[in-house]
Symmetry: C2
Amino acid sequence: MQIAVLGTGVVGRTLAPRFAELGHTVTIGTRDPAATAAKEDYAAWQADHPEVGLATFAAASELAALVVNATNGDATLEVLAQAGDLGGKIVLDISNGLDFSGGFPPRITFPQDDSMAEQVQRAHPAALVVKSLNTMTADVMAHPDRLPDPGTVFMSGDDPAAKEVVAGLLAELGHTDIVDLGDVTTARGTEWLMPAWLRVMGAVGSPYFNWKVVR
Amino acid sequence: MQIAVLGTGVVGRTLAPRFAELGHTVTIGTRDPAATAAKEDYAAWQADHPEVGLATFAAASELAALVVNATNGDATLEVLAQAGDLGGKIVLDISNGLDFSGGFPPRITFPQDDSMAEQVQRAHPAALVVKSLNTMTADVMAHPDRLPDPGTVFMSGDDPAAKEVVAGLLAELGHTDIVDLGDVTTARGTEWLMPAWLRVMGAVGSPYFNWKVVR
């Protein structure tokens, strides 16, 4: 599958090569590819990962069947606005809307009857938005099998076929307990896991954990 | 230990006899004991559980070292105001502040920088408030061992000694992974697990599950 990963941060740099390793064709999307490629840390990473392409948000998305939003919540809407026509494409939204301006722990940037996923869906009504993977750190997204138990990964979205594709991708990554919560509004549930996630990280002293629904 | 369980609903009726079974002296607190005892369903339940006492909120709390708030969030502050002087007592707060007036799923009744536990602590500054057990259904609180894995139970509170007592009680109930998140403000994390909990209940078709932090 042709996959665009929008965002050059930790999440993007973790998922992009993992998808490539799984046999997908992966291009990272960024605002200014020349500027990104010229950054010392990105250039070093790129040298280690020649299998991952780099292009503008729009060029990366154009040929992709699946566009991964791996940007911070505060950049999400602006970045996706630069990604061209997302109609008919699966948009895998991993973002969390967090405001760190008041210190730690950050605040959620939207009211409880909204979510990042719904904001993305409203901005791109013809896109097939699926919220997933936002409830764990990047290393766990990419390699849940490295935990003693992979835990649970959730999906929220309006399009069943898009969720089926995402579920297949999640399974390829190593996720074994994939819970479809329902339509895109159910992302309100998982996006509000973040306040607890941040406190658990503090208590267990590491981001390297996952939620599991034991039943 | 002498324990008061405030609230005659499902949570109170599940926990009270379980604590008694574990060897504690348990009194359920209610607004009007005569009226509660006269209710047909309560009378039938009481006949099955003669080991559990019934008294006013104040009388039940007076002799208790540990007062369990097993009321709904919307009744919590009013009930605890009737419980007499809670200074020096451990108040185990299980409440969730949910408003069902707009249908399902309910809304959280407080802003993200507050919690039921903090409201209780502010109203009773000398009480030793510990938030716990609010992230699971009553049967799982009382018998986590009946799940394939007991999962994780969280604690939030300002008083380390009170949390130690609560941790002991949780262990007696069968909880094996007890995570102390920190001070009472960390209840903001677990109280905001409810929106996800409600969607997971919908997806798995049962309230009989628990969160587990796999790490």
